[in-house]
């Protein structure tokens, strides 16, 4: 392939000279390319902004949602409720109906858990008989107060901030809870554990045996 080329013939030398002469055209071509590059960059700005749209307006994704009359939640019970996500369109259909668990530990003391498992977001199910949340995906289990009981989750259930206004229970919601937006892993033991567990196993999140 790489054979040695013979020296340029007179005809070819003529062509080389010609190439130099048309450098004006090649200059114009280069300018044309540069203009296209500039226009491309200019067009890329709105395109990138369009693609990043969902990210750039993320500050707006939290707002207070009314869960209704707080009196309808009986003390000692954990109840599954659902609300319409505040950031939604008509064509979202039923995907915008977001469930949550309202736990009423004592009269007036409400904790609202997201149904998403803190492991990988599957829907945990509440079992009032055993007072446990169980996850159907990878087997995460949580106690009634949302703290981790067993399985792969690193932390307890996600909680929505709550407040009471005019007798109504409000939660600050609007986005799917993941480790990145509610990631503050509570130091173990800070959350109230079931009394018996707290006494014997100060940190049920560890793999240490609870006794002996």
């Amino acid at each position: 392939m790489d054979e040695k080329l013979p020296p340029p013939s007179p005809h070819e030398q003529e062509q080389l000279l010609e190439r130099d002469r048309i450098s004006r055209r090649s200059f114009l071509m280069n300018v044309g390319l540069a203009i296209n590059a500039a226009v491309g960059v200019l067009l890329a700005v709105p395109v990138v902004a369009y693609i990043l749209g969902p990210v750039m307006r993320r500050r707006e994704y939290l707002t207070w949602v009314d869960l209704g009359d707080a009196a309808k939640f009986n003390p000692g019970e954990t109840k599954l409720v659902s609300f319409r996500n505040p950031f939604t369109n008509e064509w979202d259909g039923e995907t915008a109906n977001i469930p949550a668990y309202v736990r009423t530990a004592a009269p007036g003391r409400y904790t609202v858990f997201a149904v998403n498992c803190a492991h990988l977001g599957c829907p945990v199910r509440w079992f009032s008989e055993s007072q446990l949340f169980m996850c159907p995906c990878h087997g995460g289990v949580y106690y009634a107060d949302g703290s981790r009981a067993s399985g792969p989750p690193e932390r307890g259930l996600f909680e929505y901030p709550t407040k009471i206004e005019n007798g109504h229970l409000l939660i600050e919601a609007g986005q799917m809870p993941t480790l990145s937006n509610r990631a503050a892993v509570r130091p173990c033991g800070e959350q109230s554990q079931p009394t018996l567990v707290k006494r014997i196993a100060p940190c049920p999140g560890t793999d240490e045996p609870t006794i002996g």
Partner: protein, 503 residues
Amino acid sequence: MPWYRRTYDWLERRLQLEGPIKDAVLHPVPKSTASWWYVFGSASAVLLVLQVVTGILLALVYSPSASHAWNILQVLNQQVPLGWFLRAMHGWGSNFMVAVVVIHMAQVFLFGAYKFPRELTWIIGVFLLLLTLGMAFTGQVLRFDQDAYWGLAIGASILGRVPWIGGQLVHLMLGGPIINGATLTRFFALHVFILPGTLLVLTVLHVWMVVKLGINEWPMPGRLVRRETYIQEYNELAHKDGLPFFPGAAWKDAYFAAAILLAVAICAAIFGPYGPTGTPDPTVINTVPRPDPPFLWIYTVLSYLPPEMETPFLLIVPPIAIAVLLGLPFVAGVGEKSWWRRPVAVFTVMFLAVCWASFTHLATSTPWSPKMNAWSGSPIPTAFLEHRTPLERQGANVFQEKQCRNCHSIGGSGGERGPALDDVATRLTEDQLIRQVLLGGGNMPAYGSTLSPPETTALVRFLNTLHPNYQPAASDASRAVAEQGGVPPASTVEPGNGQHKTQ
């Protein structure tokens, strides 16, 4: 001259495609490549065409609207004539395509076909594999049902573990704060335009390079690849001991392509389309999401990883794996091609295959998940309740009612998260049972705050009957000694399961 000949000539004079096509299909290839082992690449391409065709046909009806997609799939399944069959073809075609692409990759790896000068062919192939997997995942999303919804939730949760920009990535993936219409439309764009477009372009490049660089010769032990001499050696093989690709080697490709298409059609006809399962309504909590077959192994890995290793694994291992695949031809670009002299390569493939098979198999029975309906839906086998005292029967009620059954099986039914309890009494004494139930431990929640003393007593009495006839229940020797005033008992054998209990 017949009319079709004249038409052809008229077209050919304008298109001038005959020359390049003839060059491509008639180019000589080494005789050894006319092998049944070389059919998987062409089969992948054929399956890609099948997917494009069935995909376009489905797109005639489908609408990427979160409030309608599920209903449209129902219409496709129930009302559009043979709509179910096309859905099934597309779904099974996807499974077959992932499988064939992976087999093709393993074969290329084992035959050393990624070595000089075919490095770029391999690299593009790696991207083709990733794109194929991407198509499988985005396709699962378009089947907008419960599994799709919660599959997205899992995907978002994984992205949410990325440090610093996790939250932004989640919103970028979902197209908003939650899984909703915007999520579906962007996955639609990915599945229908972006990924298949890239896939087709890269496939053309991939095939182009196969034609230009020649089909890899059958590796012979000792015939080493050297950059200086390989091309010359290959050309000698192809020209002196070769045959034209068409029909010399292509007939096997054609047979296999037909067989694989027929297999897809038969699977589609027998097993039918995938889902859709329940509606994508997150308020329906009673759901057990499962990933599609190509991702079952990930499901297993995520259940068995220790919690502290999970985020590093999810975020670090995939880039490393891809980097290893991409770097392979640069690290091992020359030298031995034959699997006879590449034991590490062979064992790597075998190891990965065994891992994949066992993980996938595990994911079909999900022993790590509680069986959510076992407590109310799995009866205790009669043998375990015969001749039981009223208290022990109440203990069985406690066992069911407190959802113990969701994680512990009895008589082969129930959850497998915890150990089966058919003979738990032989392993734990009464006191140990009480301790285990109340305090949990070993990945079992503590039930101390949910079980009343009578419930605990009843439950432990029931559990204490769970031992086979021939083996006594475990008992605490010191307790018996204490009860009998320091005299060791003559025998600790108790009546077993199914026997009358006199106490």
